[in-house]
Symmetry: D3
Subunit: 237 residues, 6 copies
Amino acid sequence: MRPSGRAPDEMRAITIETGFTKHAEGSCLISFGDTRVLCTASVEERIPPWLRGKGQGWVTGEYSMLPRATHTRGSREAAKGKQSGRTQEIQRLIGRSLRAVCDMEKLGERQITLDCDVIQADGGTRTASISGAWVALRMAVNKLMEAGAIKEDPLTAKIAAISCGIHQGTPVLDLDYVEDSNADADANFVLIEGGQIAEVQATAEGATYDEEGLLRLLRLAQMGCAEIFKAQDAATK
Amino acid sequence: MRPSGRAPDEMRAITIETGFTKHAEGSCLISFGDTRVLCTASVEERIPPWLRGKGQGWVTGEYSMLPRATHTRGSREAAKGKQSGRTQEIQRLIGRSLRAVCDMEKLGERQITLDCDVIQADGGTRTASISGAWVALRMAVNKLMEAGAIKEDPLTAKIAAISCGIHQGTPVLDLDYVEDSNADADANFVLIEGGQIAEVQATAEGATYDEEGLLRLLRLAQMGCAEIFKAQDAATK
Amino acid sequence: MRPSGRAPDEMRAITIETGFTKHAEGSCLISFGDTRVLCTASVEERIPPWLRGKGQGWVTGEYSMLPRATHTRGSREAAKGKQSGRTQEIQRLIGRSLRAVCDMEKLGERQITLDCDVIQADGGTRTASISGAWVALRMAVNKLMEAGAIKEDPLTAKIAAISCGIHQGTPVLDLDYVEDSNADADANFVLIEGGQIAEVQATAEGATYDEEGLLRLLRLAQMGCAEIFKAQDAATK
Amino acid sequence: MRPSGRAPDEMRAITIETGFTKHAEGSCLISFGDTRVLCTASVEERIPPWLRGKGQGWVTGEYSMLPRATHTRGSREAAKGKQSGRTQEIQRLIGRSLRAVCDMEKLGERQITLDCDVIQADGGTRTASISGAWVALRMAVNKLMEAGAIKEDPLTAKIAAISCGIHQGTPVLDLDYVEDSNADADANFVLIEGGQIAEVQATAEGATYDEEGLLRLLRLAQMGCAEIFKAQDAATK
Amino acid sequence: MRPSGRAPDEMRAITIETGFTKHAEGSCLISFGDTRVLCTASVEERIPPWLRGKGQGWVTGEYSMLPRATHTRGSREAAKGKQSGRTQEIQRLIGRSLRAVCDMEKLGERQITLDCDVIQADGGTRTASISGAWVALRMAVNKLMEAGAIKEDPLTAKIAAISCGIHQGTPVLDLDYVEDSNADADANFVLIEGGQIAEVQATAEGATYDEEGLLRLLRLAQMGCAEIFKAQDAATK
Amino acid sequence: MRPSGRAPDEMRAITIETGFTKHAEGSCLISFGDTRVLCTASVEERIPPWLRGKGQGWVTGEYSMLPRATHTRGSREAAKGKQSGRTQEIQRLIGRSLRAVCDMEKLGERQITLDCDVIQADGGTRTASISGAWVALRMAVNKLMEAGAIKEDPLTAKIAAISCGIHQGTPVLDLDYVEDSNADADANFVLIEGGQIAEVQATAEGATYDEEGLLRLLRLAQMGCAEIFKAQDAATK
């Protein structure tokens, strides 16, 4: 039995509230249960120096937790003067994931930055971030297409992410904070609609797992992402 | 005529949504029109080193803008590795303001941090922060009193803040971004319920004003804060 | 009775020694009693990037305390690797104040930096800095006019600053360190010759004051600045 | 055909030269072909603050590239004043991997730091680092056991890491720099002797892969790690 | 002929104005011609962690140039967020030099920090700093002895520093900025009264010199330091 | 008797292994006894901004110790976020020394960076660095000449460095760590083949020395450098 009473393959409720802020070209507040992340997409008509003159664009991500998103207050990274290794790892993952479904030539010489700011944390903040960032990116790209700035849709597919783990010996889907703190192994999957894998980050500090265990986690993730793809669909139509 | 169509002494709509996040001891999302700030109060049973053993507590503030709270994306202070002078000035102001209405001996040896994170900016973010932070602080102190950790209420009064300015020759109340960008002079007042002044920060880079002008701005601020005190009352009862 | 024996509306002795350093285009060592600040004006034929091509100049300020300007040694900001919030707040104030009396188009495409380095501190370092910086700026602008680089005088008026406060219930002018440490309320006024107000920064962490109290402090400040304007006159003629 | 002429499941030559430096409690220079990493284990009789009094130890990793380990000189992180996101990601991975095979209670209240400094880079520096770090750790633990400081061996198994990827449509083992730069997908596996998985970090920025593809890469990794385990055995006996 | 018209072995005028600031336990404004450095000695009843419990004290130095001490304005190290290599080299030199004439056991468990802040620069700022710092240190130690905090004088001798160089083929003493910029070789000597050498820092980027050349520079330095010792004597008596 | 059993004027064994890494234009692993430094020369076809358009090149150095090069592990400067004063002092010395024997006009508009990374430390790391850096520089310049990029050899002479000190009253050559820790005085000499002096850095924190003492140390250094010149010769031919 999971602490939350959920079945092993049961996701938390997903909600996606689009247009949460008015300035961003795309934005949403995504919730995976009590985990809530504000995702915004900002379009800028400039690209990183190393891409200039190549006729292509760039998509990148930034991530942060508000200090009191968590059970106890964490110190503010801006005040400490540097981003933690964890923050940098997550924002690199967000950027790579979204680039996996974006054709940079069709995007043209512009940059889209996905900011994922965690308002409230209860496990799975990086996976909610990626899933919500896709919605914000979709909205921003739609706006560019409506304005005629982009001719062909650069987004090749939906992308979503979910965490799975082994909790008290059972593979479970979409870990909340209580499960995450006690999980023997923890894996984040970033999957593309249609069955392709974009990223796997599987870690076992306590228990380890074998090939069979990895496959079980992957299959749970496929179920979870199918639900997220539906929620993304509903939010962007 | 103001760009927004408001009368010179007319505030924007104020809304205060309490309990916006579940982990903080007190929290609210405060809006002054399109300016929206998430304010949380975090209670910690420790105090800064220089206060140890004096039998008193501390109240402090931190402030940040999400990168895309603004019309164009600003760079993230955590990524740049330092907080701007503006940020530091504002968070010092938030802390001083709330300390002006808190009896540190009654608070006891604990620290309350007010985090003010701007979700969306349209002028007046620092004044919305102070006004909302008081609500979060009130809620956190109530919780401490209910739990018996504090015997006597350390909060001596309500405190609120509002900006005023001279826009095209007319003194106006509660400037939005459009007015703020074009104002000849700009003043932020932090007022205590009952008529006392806690802080005045009046600046005139373009036009200047005389004693009479300063008084006019102060009287507008008194009108504005009266409205905020009512909204704070409604939110915390 | 004030600790120094001064009357409530009595300033400390003001001295301004011009030409204190030989390299700067303008310089003075200003003293408000035992508070001594070295102010230098540096002219550079370049402007910040965001002003390029607009046909106007810029005036900015920097502020620092020598480590042993104070009763006990403070650590050096260069060694700590960052400027405190207080330092940044003061240097922003210095820059804004001097820009309030300088016509940027008449100045032309050049930048003048006012460096205010506190040699000895006894209260009122920011107000002495602003008052002395005007003298250094006046000297630097005179030099540019003599050299024919500027045709019309860009300085529109004198500007000076003074602190006032409520000490043991009495409004007093030009607080020294002992008074400042015990003041119930503390206000810094930046005034323009002729009666206009450029900046008010009034703070009440302990006691607060009402409209009447603010006016009393303002009137003391007007008396104090009148004296400073005379000293600036004498120093620059 | 691979650029190096190797078969798809062919590793580069592995060499492990133990005792490469004399001060460290354990050290080796590990080579995967032209990739050479100096791994040292440093034992310190202190533990991180958050572990004090829990009767257990800690194992952590640090990683760096010498500026000219690469084809063109990279700037020195110490000179830039911060470690890149990539560096932090890798050193977190090294630490987690080695903790997966170390019983912290048997280690006792001491910390072992594995420093992995890349002398020459030709692809696979993180996997060579983990594989070599285990050898250095093994040597340091042996020394502690010989000295009687540790009674029971805290190392529960060997651990090794290898990269695999899809290069021009073919899954290949142990990518060198040329392959890595052109790979469609790239995965790093950290495997424990006996068949368990400690970490998977699979990334597909260009092409993606499905479940079947992930399994093929995992099986290549199992072959590669088997070879590394042999080399580790030879080096530590 | 030297640019200044001085003879090769002629020093610039030395003046030492003691008690330049009132808070420091010792202070002086030392001038070598137009080079002027404010030196203060601050006594603190605490020592660095690594010296605790050893019954001895510590003497250390810090150095900084005011931004407009020089011909053109240099950027402020506190604003840049780090001290230059040159600054660190000089402040390490100041500390080592003064420790060479101070018996740390007689000083007792306290630290004296010598702050050397260059008000105006015209070559030789590091040597003026060391020479002036000794005066400030002497005054601070005298104060400690008068107060009975120290029984035996910990200062074992006077110490002074001077620069020499080869300018257009001629060895010259006490280089000013014009000479320093064009010198073929440049050497700073820190000498102890009585003929001992504490430090030699001789550098030849352009021309080099042989053993004979080094000796000539040393002998010029001995002449220069003899004059400084006299000025130190006069200042501290 | 020296702790190592060496005669006062006896160097440790010098070995220079060229081509230690394959990417650098020049590289060697130099050993002075147990002190081992990896020196690489990197040629870049760009120069610092302040040299542009002057028709000359630049030579610079960087220095670092691997964390466990020493008896006990030191913290990594990249992790601390800044280079120590000692590191900066040494890398400035390396750059100046090599520039003393390089004709910048003959080098042409390119920069050569000498990276000196200490693999193992046993005293004399800066002198081994300079001596090895010359070998790497020689190799890189040879490569440029062979490729026809440089017409005339810009290297005017060999340069080498060695430490000397007074250990238990006796002047000794090439101090190892044990001697260095107990030396009364310590001097590093950078000498040019043919008898010229490029740099002297002599320090006496404990005992001091007179003119005669300095000369004795210089003569020991001349003997030591003669040996290093021979080793450099052998390595580069």
